[in-house]
């Protein structure tokens, strides 16, 4: 029987719903019902979750790379790249020479990569003649200029999200990539995360465990934090700051809050997850309604909204999906996650610490076959095993929760970077090419517009096309 036939059969026979069955007359022990599936699932799970050593292909083409922007995010990317084989770091560029640049170059040197240091990216591109690719982690408002210059120099580019703080900038990046015939990957790293890939490919597309998706909700809530400071002795000279677009050291350190430099929390935090909305729904939104404001922090130093709640409306082949997203910067409750809700199940997922689970709706088709195939774990049923036909009445049992049987064992960002470098080598295809990054930028940047407009704004298909 094929998976589809099996699923169809289950749909036709809702009378054997397992949860109802257990809650009523539990004649069959849970292990009996799930026994074979459980045993098989355990062996599959073992194979799926056991970390495997990286197999480095013979004759892996070495790549010469440079990094533009070695602040907090640049350092995260460098740390991940140092764990990838076949990369030769040649140069690092950052205007904070006494702190970011010194730290990054020092670490790279200790790992056997004596890099050249640059303040100006143009200078770097003139002098470094043997580069293959550049990784960009500079502030958002610099992304377009940095990426376009690198692409025009004939280099492949990995650029951190948000692709740009303006659609005009993002548009230029796509065009430069096309004109140069060079790769441009945008750093929406969840698109290469094996847990997210499993959820999309196996659970949503193939097994269709969620049924007809009707709603999405997600959030990134972050605790209150002070404006970023700097050790006083390492302050950048005012003329250097001005040359590179900052009016002060405070603005340099807190560029994300300024309207001409970044996009605020909805872009910094929300973009990662709203990108997943588009991906998992395989659709573009047709409208967005949003409310937000600088409710908590001093508006003089925080031009962008510190609190944003947005509702998107998607039109999918199966019907309308409404997707809610919130970002708070004054409370960290529940951290960050995404929930995809359908009439047959719920997927809860987060990039954080393998958090997540899948929940079956009452009367939805059985998932035994998918458990047997190792697509998801058998449900946790601690203390609920029935051993006879007599119902043991006790405290309320929790709903079935299935684990996603993929444990993420690589450093964050590594799979996405690896996808990029392997595509440069001709061994893979990009998981987030420029056009996809552009669609996400269109989707996310519109939220700030909607907040300002105070009304629902519509997207047209043309908005997403280049």
């Amino acid at each position: 029987m094929t998976d589809k036939q099996n699923k169809d059969k289950n749909k036709q026979n809702p009378s054997i719903d397992r949860r109802d069955f257990l809650q009523g007359l539990a004649a069959t022990p849970v292990l009996g019902l799930f026994g074979a599936a459980l045993i098989h699932e355990q062996s599959v799970k073992k194979k799926l979750t056991k970390a495997k050593p990286k197999v480095v292909p013979e004759n892996l083409e070495p790549l010469n790379i440079a990094v533009i922007g070695s602040g907090a995010q640049g350092q995260v990317l460098i740390d991940a790249m140092l764990k990838l084989p076949g990369l030769h770091f040649k140069a690092v560029c950052d205007i904070w020479t006494e702190y970011n640049l010194k730290r990054a170059a020092g670490i790279l040197k200790r790992y056997g990569h004596p890099v050249n240091r640059y303040i100006d990216y143009r200078d770097m591109l003139v002098r470094e003649q043997d580069l293959d690719a550049v990784v960009i982690a500079s502030p958002d408002f610099w992304h377009a200029d940095h990426a376009v210059a690198c692409l025009e120099a004939g280099l492949h580019v990995y650029c951190e999200k948000e692709m740009s703080n303006t659609l005009e900038g993002a548009h230029r990046m796509v065009m430069a990539s096309r004109k140069a015939g060079k790769l441009l990957q945008i750093g929406h790293q969840r698109r290469s995360n094996p847990r997210y890939l499993h959820c999309y490919d196996k659970l949503i597309r193939e097994a269709k465990l969620l049924g007809r998706m009707t709603s999405v909700n997600g959030q990134w809530n972050r605790a209150v934090q002070p404006d970023l400071g700097w050790p006083e002795k390492y302050a950048i000279q005012p003329d250097i700051l001005r040359k590179y677009g900052f009016d002060s050291m405070h603005q340099f350190r807190n560029w994300r809050w300024f309207k001409n430099l970044g996009g605020g929390p909805i872009v910094d935090l929300g973009s990662h997850q709203i990108d997943i909305y588009n991906w998992f729904l395989k659709a573009r939104p047709k409208s967005v309604l949003a409310s937000g404001g600088t409710d908590y922090y001093d508006p003089a130093a925080h031009e962008w909204y510190d609190t944003v709640l947005a509702i998107y409306e998607y039109e999918t082949p199966a019907g309308t999906v409404r997707a809610f997203y919130q970002t708070l910067t004054s409370n960290s409750s529940e951290g960050y996650f995404e929930n995809f809700l359908g009439d047959e199940g719920t997927l809860h997922i987060s990039e954080s610490s393998n958090r997540g689970g899948v929940y079956r709706e009452p009367n939805a088709p059985q998932w035994d076959e998918w458990v047997r195939l190792g697509y998801l774990s058998a449900p946790e049923k601690a203390g609920t095993q029935a051993t006879s036909a007599v119902l043991d009445v006790r405290e309320t049992i929790a709903p079935d929760r299935h684990d996603i049987p993929i444990v993420f064992t690589d450093p964050y960002h590594m799979p996405h970077l690896e996808n990029f470098f392997n595509t440069v080598r001709g061994l893979d295809t990009l998981n987030c090419p420029a056009e996809t990054g552009y669609e996400t930028a269109v989707t996310v940047l519109k939220v700030n517009e909607a907040v300002k407009a105070g009304k629902q704004l519509a997207f047209s298909e043309q908005d997403f096309l280049i």
């Binding site: 970023l228 400071g229 050790p231 006083e232 610490s353 393998n354 064992t409």
Partner: protein, 305 residues
């Protein structure tokens, strides 16, 4: 390794100290705090924020409960070299240093065996191999290989101390002239002037009687505590058996990583070996309180003031 306990390291009554700025952050299954004395309270807060960001990064490298940490990656791939971060390398090197100082009574290769013993705390599991015998460190290339299928690295006995040291480095870089940093009160490092005197006051009390035994001014050094009030959780690596619950130990050292590790090692170390270790290593001191027949007895080695 050990679940570190805060019960016995008394810090100054901060509520009455208006001149002190106090910041806290949850990490490594406990609460870290930074106390500073700085004329610009907001600047101190910004420095503390950066220190806590660093703390989270270190936890992410060192925790065996995070599936993609360096330590988890090493543990999951016995026999295979794993590229690790600079922080992880430095911490592992300090583990091996502490292991040497304590003649093997501190050992980061106990996680798996500790886990196994939880189900049967009375039965010994035999001597645990030294980290030098199962952990291959290629420092030049930042590669670590765990050459033992059953062994696991667990930095629970040193990770908090290591993180405190790096946070201290950061506070110096920010030119914060006086600070006290602790991880769950079981490991504390302090430097600089507090209330017109050099060093920050901390105290040690008998966990069995609650009587204050020592008051110390901590300056450019660290103090750590270990005990068993939460039950038997420290394994004597020589015998594989849990350490008996009738004792508590404190260690002082030039770094928090070392004091953290030493205090764990002291729990199982015979008194004569503690004395020898403190004699041979300047800046290290050990103190142990043992309870027998409803009486506490204190043993102190090295300079403990």
């Amino acid at each position: 390794m050990a679940i570190r306990e805060p019960f016995n390291l008394k810090l100054p009554d901060i509520e009455r100290l208006n001149s002190v700025q106090r910041f806290d952050h949850a990490a490594m299954n406990t609460q870290f705090e930074i106390w500073t004395v700085h004329p610009n309270a907001y600047y101190a807060r910004q420095a503390a924020h950066e220190a806590f960001v660093l703390l989270d990064q270190i936890e992410h490298d060192l925790s065996r409960y995070i599936s993609n940490s360096d330590i988890s990656r090493i543990n999951q791939l016995p026999g295979h070299p794993v590229i690790i971060s600079e922080q992880t390398l430095r911490c592992l090197q300090q583990c091996q240093h502490a292991e040497k100082l304590t003649s093997g009574y501190f050992n980061a290769i106990v996680g798996h065996l500790t886990g196994r013993s939880r189900g049967n705390t009375r039965r010994g599991t035999g001597e645990i191999p030294s980290s030098a015998s199962v952990l291959e460190i290629d420092a030049e290339h930042y590669l670590v290989t765990l050459n033992h299928e059953q062994a696991q690295i667990d930095l629970g006995g040193i990770g908090k101390g290591y993180a405190v040291d790096r946070m201290v480095d950061l506070m110096h870089d920010w030119e914060i002239g006086s600070a006290l940093i602790h991880g769950g009160r079981s490991t504390v490092y302090a430097y600089g002037q507090f209330q017109d005197e050099i060093g920050w006051p901390v105290s040690i009390s008998d966990p069995f009687t609650r009587k204050a035994e020592k008051r110390i001014r901590l300056n450019n050094r660290a103090l750590s505590a270990s005990g068993l009030s939460r039950g038997m959780h420290i394994i004597n690596v020589k015998s594989g058996k849990p350490v008996q619950a009738n004792q508590a130990a404190w260690a002082m050292a030039p770094t928090a990583a070392l004091s953290d590790a030493l205090s764990t090692g002291l729990m199982a170390m015979p008194l004569r070996e503690i004395g020898r270790m403190c004699e041979m290593n300047q800046g290290c001191a050990g103190l142990k309180i043992m309870r027998k027949n409803a009486m506490s007895r204190l043993y102190a080695y090295g300079i403990f003031n």
